[in-house]
Amino acid sequence: MFLLALAGVYLAGFAVLAVTLWRVQVHQAADWKQDQDIQITRRMRTVGSRGRILDSRGRILAECRASRNAVLLPERFARAGAKLSTRVAAAMDNIRVLEKLLNRESGITEKKLERHFKRSSVLPLAVFSDLNDVELSIVAEHGMELYGFDIETQSVRHNPFGAMACHVLGYTGREIPALQGDEAMRRYHFVMPELKGRAGLESYYDQYLAGVPGEKTVNVNALGYVTGRDGAPGGEDGFAGPDLRLSIDASVQRALEKELQGVTGAGVVISCIDGSVIAIASSPAYDLNTFSYEALLRDPEKPLFNRAISGQYEPGSTFKPVTALAAGAAGVDADATYVCTGIYKGTHCANRWGHGPLNLRSALAHSCNTFFLHLADETGGSNICAQAKMMGLGRRTGIDLYGESAGGVEPWQRQSAIGQGMLQVTPLQMAVVAAAIANGGFVLKPRLRAIEPWEEVKPADALEFAPATYAKVRQGMEDVGEKYLQTWKDDRDVRHTLAVSTAAKTGTAERGPRNNRTKNTWMIAYAPADNPQIALSLVVENGESGAGTAGPRARNILKAIFGERQQL
């Protein structure tokens, strides 16, 4: 009897256990699982790879390359001891050993190490960045005694051409992104830093180039260390960002930059048809892979300054075609002649004795100041100013870069008609002007990003040029091109000729105080003259003359684009 009761009690006891276990393990299972998950899971937002920047033929101008870093994994030092200070000391020792082996400073202090162990023990700590092959093998060989290290590859921005197009390409920095909206709700424990464009196209197209982020989940043990990094339970990989294709042609860019080497100045080559920028450079330049920002900031030559789009210069005689076109629009006779006597209302001409009788064509060819000052008086300053504005001066071109200068045409002065005075233009604006003259009046919007075949591009403003004047302007410029660009003799006195005919205008703008005058020497051009494809503008600071300084350089660039005519 008693035994029966006892059996009942015991059975009841087991039942109680079973029921409670059912409640805990089945009913409450989700809650407990969640408790556990909160305890053991860490979520990290990882970065997708940044897209590349390519030239018009697919050559890589900017890409992400793998930088191999030696990183320290805090969880490997758990075996050093239970106390934090012991672990940090053990890690520090190993870092010192590696420093000796690699003969390189790590820049990690005891304090920094301790802080990392305390706050970010889930993350690897980068100790040495960008190991070369020798260093890599050293670290790998000493894996046994140097426990706690691992090699991690990190995305680093790399420009295979070094300094080419450095101003337009720009550079990136590493930044932990601020999460918005949905992402902020996901409550990551750690957000990995991303590459973010700080200048140039990297900055302008930053969102476009950025990759799609991924997620990585790891389990941590009771001490907060990651267990089994390779077998991490969850996460999605990020995506690489799309490539950015430019209209820039690296070979033309190289030719342009070669001509600017050693001088201060800028040059732009654009398409007369759609405004695509084929080459654009500013000098001095810097190597995107190795530059020091602080050093460049302190450099008095201001290498960080993109003179092609931000440099404001007086255009000098290159403005004269605009004056001419303004005159034509105002109704001035294109065939009118004027006798240059060498001086007009106090301003001298380049030829002190005067050019004699000139018409519009010959005046352009000789770049006669007095002719154009006289023409300006006939046309009216406000008309010329208006023409200038219509051709894009005084406002930004709208190129896809930040930091463009608008230049300025006002206040209008007498000298503005010949490209001096308060008239300020950028090399880019002058290239647009040259292209407008070349293509019959379309003021194009320059663009660095390649225009895709399916893209609808808004048509450019079409200006009306007075036909007779326009013809004269073109002829005049063709004469200039013929004279300064078409043919030349090399060191061995052999005559060379460009494969195409050109049209051009020189310019020499004087500036500075009377006792220290310098000259900004210009050349604008387009080619081929009969069927224009490209327009070019080039300015060299501190030069001799437009023809002498800028001319040969422009010619070399055209030679690079079109080649020479074969000699028979």
Partner: protein
Amino acid sequence: MKFIDYLKRFDYLSFIAMILLIAMGGVFIKSAGAARSSLLLQNLWQTHLATAGFAIALYFVLSMLDWRKIFDFGAVPVYAASLAMLVLVLVAGTDRFGGKRWLWFFQPSEIGKFAVVLLLAHVFGHLAMKNPDEHKHSAGTDDEGETLEKPLPLAGFKGFLVATGIIGVPALLILVEPDLGTALVLAPASIVMLFAAKVWLRGVATLVILAAVAAGLVLGTIAKAESLPPAEQQKIYSRLPFKKHQISRLRIFVNPDADPYGSGWTLNQAKIAIGSGSFAGKGIGKGDQKRLGYLPPSVSMNDFIFAVLAEEAGFAGAAAMLTLFAVIVLRGLWTAAKAADGRGRLFAVGISTIIFFHVYENVAMSIGLMPITGLPLPFISAGRTFLVALVASLGVMQSINIRAYQSSETERN
């Protein structure tokens, strides 16, 4: 007896349940050991199974012997020996986990538990007869050497005193080690045995009620104290006659959030382990709590091995385990019912109670139903002394079971 009879009467059910539980022990000790850093602990499951092998051999030997002879020749010597060891361990024992509990490689307190049951059964067996007349024919003699016509000796208060002596001396020695949990488990075992033998029934019942009330008061005080600010708490706790860690265990029983980084941590991690196991478990060897060290490694192989089992085998595994234990306990009571004499009956009751209480306390404390004590899970927790003593006792019970109907037969050995 003939071997064929042995085979016919052998209780296979309880034997197989025991083997299965021992196997489970091997599996989960191995799993828990995998998270440990010392090779010794990683291979502890091999020691466990080897010890089990030895114990099972002992089981068979004991089951083939006549249990009455074991009682006659063994009860007192075993008890005396364990008393001696308990004294010895206090003097010359190895210090581990804050207490002198080990003598060489075994724990005297684990043997003590069974020795007490054995002696109690031997001494008071005559009071637990199915038929009081049978004791005249029993092979055992009663301690007092009194004549058999007098009222059953030791049935009254005097018996109670004797019982207290038999239980109390080793209990005290165990308490001093200190090992409150083991000492405590003697209480239900002996109380049930005393009830079964009807020793001073009324007195014992009263004492039990009083003890329950006292326990209730203690828990109530602690519950009340938990809702007070810390300063007040200290005043109350310092007045209770318990050690610090015992108080903290009682506190977290009452208030699970009380000691989040001490005892509360273990309990919470155990609950997480058990809860996250859900129905089917996470798979043997794949338990996260033990793998990641949230369940403290020092307890994952013994006291809290159930948490590992529950996380890895789920409710299904836990329920299977409980079923196997239920089989053993209930078969034990069945053996008690058909035991040839009172000693066997008492012994079976005592052993079954010990097993039940261990299982109940161990599982309940892992889920917060009972306060944490150091009671291991029979067959499954790593602990060689306990395993051998337990299996040996079951061997004796098997002998009792086999010879159950021999009282009316001619004695044959």
